[in-house]
């Protein structure tokens, strides 16, 4: 993968000794806190204000979503195992865990797709009521982030398969992990606020 800081004859000097790209990802995650924060705030403010149904209590399937939540949590485990493997240059395991992370992420997305189509079938569309609008927007934005993450992970997997990813690129895998775990952490919040605290 590519380098970041402008070249200097003195080498890649940094004021903190920390990598630029890692700083970038953490700062970006800070910005994403405000993005999801605003979406969450919209959802919470509109909770209980839908004038027509269907209403969340009727539709939300806690057992099902518990399973998909668990899947996403485990994908984070896969991710740290992938990073650990890449760091010790065990690319066989690295490829395995990268693929597993992407796979579990895809399973999660599959669960979201199933849930959305079920809700649609039950009469909850984007424009049906405030619950539909705010629910689909919030969880949809999260899902889009997961989707981007899956593409990113698969790209790394393909690179690894082609022998172009190894311990020298551990930082890249670490940064991918930061993004992935953050997306997982957002889901932890959403699972509680949307599903468990349904009213």
């Amino acid at each position: 993968m590519t380098d970041d800081a402008a070249a200097t004859a003195e080498g890649h000097y940094t004021s903190t000794g920390l990598p630029n790209r890692k700083l970038l990802m953490w700062t970006f995650i800070g910005s994403e806190c405000m993005l999801f924060g605003s979406l969450i705030m919209t959802y919470l403010v509109y909770r209980g204000r839908s004038i027509t149904g269907p209403y969340p209590e009727e539709l939300l399937n806690i057992p099902f979503i518990t399973v998909t939540t668990f899947v996403l949590l485990m994908s984070s485990l896969m991710m740290v195992l992938a990073l650990a493997a890449v760091q010790r240059n065990d690319m066989r395991q690295g490829k395995l865990w990268l693929l597993m992370t992407a796979l579990l992420g895809t399973v999660f997305l599959g669960g979201q797709v199933y849930e959305f189509s079920h809700f649609l079938h039950e009469g909850l569309g984007l424009s049906t009521n405030l619950f539909g609008a705010s629910f689909y927007l919030l969880t949809g934005t999260h899902g889009a982030h997961v989707f981007v993450g899956v593409l990113w992970l698969l790209s790394l997997f393909v690179l690894a398969v082609r022998g172009r990813l190894d311990a020298r690129h551990a930082e890249t895998v670490e940064i991918t992990g930061l993004y992935w775990h953050f997306v997982d952490v957002v889901w932890i919040v959403l699972f509680t606020l949307i599903y468990l605290l349904v009213s």
Binding site: G30, T66, S76, G177, D184
Partner: protein, 108 residues
């Protein structure tokens, strides 16, 4: 560019065993959350319990999986600052919308 270490020596890493332990904890906490949800008697205190449990999961993922516990404090600042701003604004908005006082929407 490989920068897995900083200038002051190498960064600690959690072991694979720690990761597995954290993953197990995440699973267990999730199960507890769902159980609490189904126990009617706990419903008056549902909100604080669930918020605490999910906060615990949050901290576990951020601290161990995202390595923040072992990493430079700067990263902690870069994350906690914006997070605090986001939470404060959410709480302010909930207050403005009467969520804490059970009131109606202002200007609705």
């Amino acid at each position: 560019m490989e920068h897995a270490t900083n200038e002051h020596g190498h960064v600690e890493h959690a072991s694979v065993r720690t990761y597995l332990g954290v993953a197990a904890a995440l699973g267990i906490i999730t199960a507890v959350e769902v159980m609490v949800f189904y126990i009617e008697a706990l419903h008056p205190v549902l909100v604080p319990i669930l918020l605490t449990l999910s906060a615990a999961k949050f901290v576990l993922v951020v601290g161990f999986f995202m390595h923040l516990k072992y990493d430079a404090r700067l990263f902690r600042g870069l994350f906690v600052g914006p997070l605090a701003v986001a939470i404060a604004i959410i709480l302010a908005m909930l207050a403005l919308y009467g969520v804490f006082t059970g009131g109606g929407a202002p200007g609705a």
